[in-house]
Point group: C2
Chain length 414, copies 2
C-alpha cells in the first residue's frame, strides 16, 4: 500500500505555507512579463571579475581549506573583518560576537528556534518582512502587530504591546521590507528605552543599511542601545541582536549573512547551526573574504547606490505620471522597495490578476500583515529592472490600476 | 541592566548540546596532533583544477544567474542530472522527486522538522550517526535503539521496536558512521518488508554508498522498496526517503546534498527550506553541476576509492601490529571509519585523555548511543590522514591503549 505521508507530518507543519512571493516568482517566469515582485538585486552590479579573481586565488592558494569542512562559527578572517568594520562604525565587538549564517533567512530561523516556544508572542511592525513570519510560524509564534507609518514603527503604540510580555521585538529600521519606511532617530531612541524598561530584547534586521540614496545616515538601534548602556565603551553586551548580509552588497547566490550578538547568545546559535547544517559553505566564505578584504565594498557600494537611486527615481517619476491620483505612496530614502496604498476597499490581489494579464507583476501587501489587513497595499521592487523596463512596467501597471479602480466605481482622471 | 538571555531561550534548547565531535575537532587543532577524530575527506582528492575551470565558466557564462537568488528546490540542471543518475542505478524518478539541501545535515534537520512532534519515537541503529541525533533532539525526539553487528542493524530486533509506533526508521546501510558496518542483503529485504507491514517509513542515509573498496555493491533500501512495491516500474512513490551528498565525492566545503522522496514529501520539504534558508547557494550548485555533468565523477570516484582503500589497509595493518589483542575491530568494506571495541569495563574517554597527551585523537563511541552504553567503543577515521601519518598515529594509539589497559588491570602482551 501507499504510505499516507500527510498523516505523518508534525503539528508544526500545519502553520507552514509556501511563500506568496516565491510562488509568485514562479508565476512570473513567463517571458515578456515585467516583475516588480521579487526582492532581487540588479545582476548588472554583481562584481563578476572580482569573483573570478577571488575564486582562482582561493582554489590555488587555499583549496584544501576552502573545500573542506570547517568551524560552525564561520571562517575566522571573515568574522574578524566584519568585527573590525562593526567596531569602527557601530559597536565594539570581537569575532566572538559573530556567527556566519547561510543568508539572513537562516539567522531568522535560528532566532525562532532559540527563543520561541509554541504560543510565544513576538512584536512586529505591520507590515513586516514575510520571511520572518514564515520562519517563526514553524515555531508556533503569535504576533503582536504595531502599526507603522513613513517614519517606521509608531513607537507610541509599542508600550501597550510590551505589556503583553513578548519574547522579543523585531524591527527593520532602514528602508523596510516591504514598506520602504525608515525609523526616525527619535523613535529609535524611544524603542531602545522602552525595550530596556520592559526587559525585552530587540532583533534588528538591517539588510539594506548601506543602500541609502538621500538624507543622513541614522545610527543603528544596536549602536543606540550600546551607547545608552555604557556610553559606547567596553565590549558589546547589550539588548539587541543585529542581522546583516552580503546578499545586497555582493551577491545573494552566495548565501552569506551574519549575526552580531552577545557571546553567550552566539554560543547558543552555534549549537543550533551545528544541528541545522554544520556550517556555511567554507568556499563561499573564503571567496567573499577575498573579494571584500581590500576595501572593495566601500567602492562597490557607491556603484550599487547610483544604480538603485536612478531606478527608484525613474519608478517614482513614472508613478507620478501614470498612476491614478487615488493611489498613494511615499518616497523611500533607500533600499529596494516602494509601497503603494490603494483606496481602502480596492483589493491588490484583484489588481495583480489584472496586471499579470498586462504582463506586469508586484506583490499584494496582505501577506506582510500577520494579523490581517493591508489588502489594499502593494509592494514594488525597483532594484532589479533596468530603467526602460521600469518605464514600460509602470505604464502597464498604471493602465491596470485605472481599469480596476474604474471597475470598483472610482472616477479615474485620465 | 544586562539582559538575562538564558531565561529567554525556548524549551527545545535544553536538549541541545554542542557536538562532542566538533568540540573535539577544536581541541585537536594543536600542531603535531594526529587526529582520527573528524570525518573529513582527504584534501588530496579535491579536484581543484576542475573546480577552477568550472568557477571561471560559471562566472563568465552564467554569472547573473549563478549569483542571484534562485528557486528553493535547487538548480534544475543539477536536479535533472541527479534524477537521471538515480533513475539509471536506483529508482525511476524525476526532478520533482529531488530537493537540493545545504549538506545532508540540513536534510536531517528538515526531516526532523517535517515529521517529529515532541515525544515522538524514532528507530535508530545503535550506534548511529551523531548528527542525526543532534538534529532531532531539537524537535524533542525519543529514540528506540536497535542493536547492530558487523552486518548492520539486527533486523530480528526491529519488529519489537516497530510495535512502539515510531514516526520513522533511520538507517545508514553502507559503511555506517560510526561503526563501518554494512547492512546485509537479507537484512535489507527484511527491513523493507517489516517497515511496510507496520506502515512505518524509512529514512535511508547514504553518504558513502560509492566508496566501496571490497565486495559486491548491494542494492539500496529505496531500490528494494520500489522493487517490492511495483517490480521497479512506474514513478517512485514508495516508503523510503533517501539522502545522499556531494560532500564525499566532490568536496564538503560546498555544502551540497540531496533528498529523494515522493513528490508530495518534497513539496513539504520545499516549504520547510523556504522558511529555513530560502535556497542552497546557487553559485555552488552551478559549479558542482559543471564539474560533474560530463561524467567526471565516475572517474574521480575511482581515485577516491584507491586513496581511501590504501589508507584503510594501512590502518588495519598497523592496528594488527600495534593494538593489544584485547581490542577488537572489523574490516569495513568501504566508507571512512573503523570501529574499535575495548574490553567491557574500559572507558574510551579515558583512553582519549591519555591519547591526546601522546598527540593522537579519535572519537569515543558513547555519544553515538542515544540510550546509553558504548563507553568501551571508539571511532577511527582513516580517510583524512596520509599513510605515514596513519602509521605514526596508530603507533601512538597502540602505546596509549596498552598503557590504559595495563592501568585497568589487564595483562598486556608486548
Amino acid at each position: 500500500m501507499q504510505t499516507p505521508w500527510e498523516y505523518r507530518y508534525a503539528h508544526r507543519m500545519q502553520k507552514m505555507g509556501s511563500s506568496v512571493i516565491r510562488e509568485l516568482l514562479k508565476l512570473t517566469e513567463q517571458p515578456d512579463l515585467i516583475s516588480f515582485g521579487g526582492g532581487l538585486p540588479a545582476p548588472e552590479v554583481f562584481p563578476l571579475a572580482e569573483f573570478q579573481e577571488a575564486c582562482n586565488y582561493v582554489l590555488s592558494d587555499h583549496g584544501a581549506q576552502a573545500l573542506q569542512y570547517s568551524t560552525t562559527e564561520g571562517y575566522r578572517p571573515l568574522r574578524e573583518m566584519i568585527a573590525r568594520h562593526t567596531a569602527r562604525y557601530t559597536v565594539p565587538i570581537t569575532p566572538e560576537n559573530i556567527l556566519i549564517t547561510s543568508g539572513s533567512q537562516q539567522a531568522l530561523d535560528f532566532i525562532g528556534r532559540l527563543f520561541i516556544n509554541r504560543g510565544d508572542y513576538v512584536v512586529v511592525e505591520s507590515p513586516t518582512y514575510l520571511g520572518a513570519l514564515q520562519a517563526w510560524n514553524a515555531y508556533g509564534a503569535q504576533y503582536i502587530s504595531v502599526p507603522s507609518d513613513e517614519n517606521g514603527m509608531i513607537v507610541d503604540k509599542l508600550e501597550e504591546a510590551l505589556r503583553i510580555g513578548p519574547k522579543f521585538i523585531y524591527v527593520l529600521p532602514n528602508f523596510q521590507n516591504p514598506s520602504g519606511s525608515t525609523l526616525s532617530l527619535e523613535r529609535r531612541k524611544r524603542l531602545v528605552l522602552l525595550a530596556d524598561q520592559y526587559g525585552v530584547p530587540i532583533i534588528e534586521d538591517d539588510p539594506y543599511g548601506q543602500l541609502r540614496y538621500d538624507g543622513e545616515h541614522l545610527p543603528s538601534v544596536v549602536y543606540l542601545d550600546n551607547h545608552f548602556r555604557n556610553d559606547g565603551n567596553g565590549e558589546y553586551s547589550g539588548n539587541v541582536i543585529y542581522l546583516s548580509t552580503f546578499s545586497k552588497l555582493l551577491a545573494p547566490g552566495l548565501r552569506l549573512a551574519w549575526v552580531v550578538a552577545p557571546p553567550q547568545v552566539i554560543r547558543k546559535l552555534v549549537m543550533t547551526k551545528q544541528a541545522a547544517d554544520l556550517h556555511t559553505s567554507s568556499f563561499n566564505q573564503h571567496v567573499a573574504y577575498e573579494v571584500a578584504k581590500g576595501g572593495f565594498l566601500d567602492e562597490h557600494v557607491k556603484v550599487i547606490r547610483a544604480t538603485y537611486k536612478e531606478r527608484r527615481d525613474v519608478m517614482l517619476e513614472m508613478m507620478d505620471e501614470m498612476f491614478p491620483p487615488e493611489v498613494r505612496w511615499a518616497k523611500p530614502q533607500g533600499g529596494m522597495f516602494l509601497w503603494g496604498i490603494l483606496p481602502e476597499h480596492v483589493d491588490a490581489a484583484e489588481v495583480l490578476t489584472a496586471a499579470i494579464e498586462r504582463k506586469v507583476a508586484f506583490v499584494p501587501g496582505a501577506a506582510f500583515h500577520p494579523n490581517g489587513g493591508g489588502e489594499n497595499t502593494m509592494r514594488l521592487n525597483f532594484s532589479f529592472s533596468a530603467p526602460d523596463t521600469i518605464r514600460e512596467g509602470i505604464t502597464r501597471l498604471g493602465t491596470t490600476l485605472k481599469e480596476v479602480l474604474k471597475k470598483n466605481g472610482h472616477k479615474v482622471s485620465a
